[in-house]
Point group: C2
Chain length 642, copies 2
């Protein structure tokens, strides 16, 4: 039986586990990327592992999410990222150089290589055959330290493409079609692998748009073969030597096959507030549009913007519609400049913003109240635009540009001839000199890592003692979310590089006295009810309590991701054997946890000060328990590496 | 005796008063400009005057200060400004078109015309011989309504220029030299009028830099003659017909004469934290530079940025120095694009930002903690950059670009040959189509003014009753500032288009119960001590109390600008005849003010509920008292116009 591309790459990078869907596999990671929003914590964690230089083939630290530099914290973060990269052997991409995924595709991604990035749209590099996955910051830090990346072995879905796109249809319409078909939950646990005779008709930017937005299917990743078009793309990027041909065997087995006739696609749009609420553009004809935004890691390539310029050339968007354009990289900007394509954008009335994520992550560009905004981005969740009642629609760059001229949704049948499909010119300018490459060899050791007052190194956590003499520092009820544990909001988020500072907000919306109380106690535990820790994946909701001296939580049940974060940062997640015992654990009660006696799945007795005891169990694996005993995953890794 | 340019223009526009220094003169205003930060309130005030269309020759509403659009309030403000301009016969300049002063110079300013703008750097237009002054929002609203603008008749200082700039010295160095000589208080009550044989050697952008930053001298304004270079500039802008020759008579009288030999100037820099802390660049040689920012209304012209590109071409700034460039207008951007000057900027590592004020007003681009930032801007006040301990230096664009390459201050003697002085090319592209011109005639009446939920029309205030039966709603001590009355900060400032909402914060840092108490009382008065209302000029510190029903303040003494704002919004500023009576006016005391009996400078008795009385006086002019009696300046104007 032949192999899929996915199986070939996983097999080649397999460090542990069996390739049976659902079973955990450990993969060797060739490349990593981080961006600034998640990057400072990932790099602080990498520093805490204390192994000196990155052990990947390549690690790149991009600044693209928050580049506004409003106040000292943001530029201090950027300076930290620049200097820690130089010291650690990583490449640094300064603010304004471009969007991480577009830059990585143009400059670094390789067919057949594994890549993880602390950003969910890392699969963009799948457009040239890289197996590229989004991951949490600590996973990326560990991959930089040479540790494997663990995932459940995915199922592989073949998306069999036939025909070729016609008229105004674009790569974006392929993925919007799939989203309409499968919904945002349709890809969980799966890799979408593209194949069939239609592949050759798709340009690399179209492919990258498709794999990028495979993230919205919930997929592990998406991947295209590396073929003649891939080779041509890499050659034009000055990276012909990075090319390796990559294709599935003719008789490869797949868990599922989906067929798409590219020739049957027409311009589509995802309606508010979910990327899978897809309809034909023509169905919305007549609806007024307040804003159009072109850019983001999904659609900010040279071809997207050249098409945009061709559509806008010689015309003027109506004053009642704002048009924002964020090129994906300085290479894209240079190509536009060289071909005289900036003036047509300006003359049409467009605002040409810096080469960053910009409005896609709510860094400006919010629509007016209840405003209709057509965006080439990948997500249209309610409120994500920064305007709670904004109505965001997702479309291709060509569709967006055409609609901007009309100032309202119109039927593509009225649009006339589509612009020619854009190919890269023979000569593509390099922006390689704009990356900051790390100094060679020993020179890196003389680099001083510069931290602002808001950047605080991760503390070293101590190992779990044999017995924990402690106090119930807080008792909470059912369904406590990570927002209860650590609220979001601009004020608190600005402290993400500073665990001691951000810890002052732990449980601040639940109990204003909590922080001063647990400090007075010199640490403590939390008692909770069902579904403790539901919500976001923020690591700070475990890091903060750990900083304050929380060594265990005793609850009725736990949410999955927060449980993993508790393990990673060395907090015991204990489960009440008798849910009714919840009533016997009062706030301020003193107790002793026999930590040395805890084994995977066993039951131990917690002794209360009054002589009674409460039975607790756990669902920890042996590996997880070892992590907690060593004080957290970073300690465990350090122990293994020393 | 001959006349200065200043006297010629004032004489031609004189509506009232005598041209004797210090005496109030009323001037007819030909043009106005507003920007978004002050513009929404100015336009709400203009709407409240209710005269339909602007009565100036030209009024332009620019959006350049806050263009980030983080959340709905900012884009809603922009939409309001666009629609109220269309309805009112004003020109609208959308976000990203450019910086108001650069755009006004290129597109609208006229020699010999009067211009007031709700921005302190309006004197930029003095570079082509416009008498251009910064003013408060209500003054601009009144000028738009055809009312005169009142100023104390200024003294006129002739700045007699000889020689010509050499080497790296630029227009910026002329004004930095003057600031070093005269200090930031040296220009109060004066117009700086440039003349002498050196004028002909200065380009229009150099002249505009000089008049722009005359604001830092505290001057009323600064002005250059309109000569052959002015004519050439206007012709290249497609506005040859706007040219009028303008020069001082050979025997003009001046109050003061300052001589500057342009040939003797060298690159200068203003040190932290004041524009008059000027030294030679060479004196700072060796000091490391974290950031360089080129742009702002002072130095963002085509010549500034072409010089910058020439200096940077083929070189790379060190990674430890960030370089931010904000072109002054889309015309500048188009010229750079047309001449292939964008690529050299990108290749050098510069971040090319949108055509807005940007970092100059703290909208991003803050330096790192304690960072050294060299900026081509006009102000380097402590904390203005957004980084409280940032060390900001002011210099010309050429100096800034050269220092960026070195990553530290260096001696200009080591810089080699200066780039050639830049002249505009023969063909300058127009961006006239990017302005939104108002519909002609009756069509304007069909324009709907669009307000977001945060934009609330100014209420109409009622006239002063004959007797005010009221209560002391708050009693405060000495030296109450406008920050006490209405705090600053992002949360509150975002409500500047919404008086009812912002009024909820009146005295919030002094007495949290104040707002609910005065609402319960249905209005009241404030009792204060010495120097009541010191600090900023914010109109909201009078508008908010008036909204809450404050009809009078009774104090020992008043700060000048707040007193004027109280008058403008119809609040009686009463002074205790006996300061000791302060102790007899307790919070919650009921009293009656015999408002009908108040005459300029007279004394009236306020009757307390216990039968006693307190004597108060005033220092109001007849005109001021009439304004208060009609309920505020807007009512007074409406009464006069009906």
């Amino acid at each position: 039986m032949g192999k899929s591309i996915t199986h070939k790459i996983i097999e080649k990078h397999l460090v542990s586990g069996e390739m049976i869907p659902g079973r955990e596999v450990g993969l060797r990671i060739d490349q990593t990327l981080t961006q600034d929003a998640t990057g400072t914590m990932a790099w602080l964690q990498f520093e805490a592992i204390n192994i000196g230089k990155v052990r990947t083939d390549l690690s790149v630290s991009y600044v693209d999410h928050n580049t506004l530099q409003m106040g000292f914290r943001n530029p201090d973060d950027h300076r930290y990222l620049r200097t820690v990269a130089a010291r650690s052997g990583a490449v640094f991409s300064p603010a304004g150089t471009g969007i991480c995924h577009q830059l990585h595709l143009e400059n670094f991604a390789k067919p057949g290589a594994t890549l993880i990035g602390s950003d969910s749209h890392t699969p963009t590099a799948g457009g040239i055959g890289s197996m590229a996955m989004g991951a949490g910051g600590l996973s990326v830090a560990l991959a930089m330290a040479g540790e494997p990346y663990f995932i459940p072995m995915p199922k592989v879905v073949k998306v069999h493409l036939t025909g070729a796109l016609t008229g105004w249809a674009q790569g974006k319409d392929v993925i919007l079609h799939l989203l309409g078909l499968l919904t945002v939950k349709g890809g969980v646990g799966k890799v979408f692998e593209y194949g069939g005779p239609g592949v050759a008709s798709l340009s690399v930017p179209d492919r990258a748009t498709i794999t990028n937005m495979g993230a919205e299917l919930g997929a592990t990743t998406s991947i295209f073969p590396a073929d003649a078009r891939t080779r041509e793309f890499l050659e034009k990027m000055g990276r012909g030597s990075d090319f390796t041909e990559l294709s599935a065997d003719a008789d490869a087995a797949y868990d599922e096959i989906i067929e798409i006739d590219l020739g049957a696609l027409e311009p589509l749009v995802a309606q508010p507030h979910m990327p899978d609420r897809v309809c034909r553009v023509s169905e919305l004809a007549g609806k007024a549009i307040d804003q159009v935004a072109i850019g983001s890691c999904t659609n900010s390539s040279y071809s997207d913007l050249k098409n945009t310029a061709q559509i806008l050339a010689g015309r003027r968007i109506p004053p009642s519609t704002d048009l924002l354009i964020s090129p994906g990289s300085k290479q894209v900007m240079k190509l536009l400049a060289r071909e005289g394509l900036i003036e047509p954008l300006l003359d049409a009335g467009a605002r040409v913003l810096e080469c960053t994520c910009g409005p896609c992550i709510g860094m400006g560009g919010s629509p007016v109240s209840a405003g209709v905004s057509v965006r080439t981005f990948n997500r249209n969740f309610e409120g994500r635009s920064g305007t709670q009642d904004g109505q965001v629609y997702l479309a291709s760059a060509q569709t967006a540009a055409r609609l901007a001229l009309d100032g309202k949704f119109t039927d593509p049948a009225t649009w006339g001839d589509a612009p020619e499909r854009v190919e890269l010119p023979a000569e593509v300018p390099s922006i390689r000199d704009l990356f900051v490459f790390p100094p060679a060899g020993d020179d890196a050791e003389s680099v001083e890592i510069l931290r602002g007052p808001n950047i605080v190194a991760l503390e070293e956590f101590d190992a779990l003692p044999a017995a924990i003499e402690t106090t119930v520092a807080l008792k909470v009820g059912d369904n406590i979310t990570t927002d209860h544990i650590l609220p979001a909001g601009a004020e608190i988020t600005a402290l993400r590089s500073n665990i001691p500072a951000i810890s002052q907000y732990i449980f601040s919306r639940v109990d204003k006295e909590f922080v001063s109380r647990i400090k007075g106690l010199g640490g403590g535990i939390i008692v909770g009810g069902e579904n403790y820790g539901q919500g976001s994946s923020r690591e700070h909701a475990a890091l903060g309590p750990r900083h304050l001296g929380v060594r265990a939580v005793i609850v009725k049940s736990l949410a999955r991701i927060h449980r993993a974060n508790l393990v990673n940062f060395g907090i015991l997640p204990l489960l009440l054997v008798e849910p009714g015992d919840y009533d016997r654990l009062e706030q301020d009660a003193s107790l002793t946890i026999p930590a040395a006696g805890i084994k995977p799945g066993n039951t131990v007795a917690i002794r209360l000060a009054n002589g009674e005891s409460v039975a607790v169990t756990n669902d920890l694996t042996k590996k997880e328990l070892e992590i907690i005993q060593s004080g957290g995953l970073l300690n465990a890794v350090r122990n293994n590496q020393s």
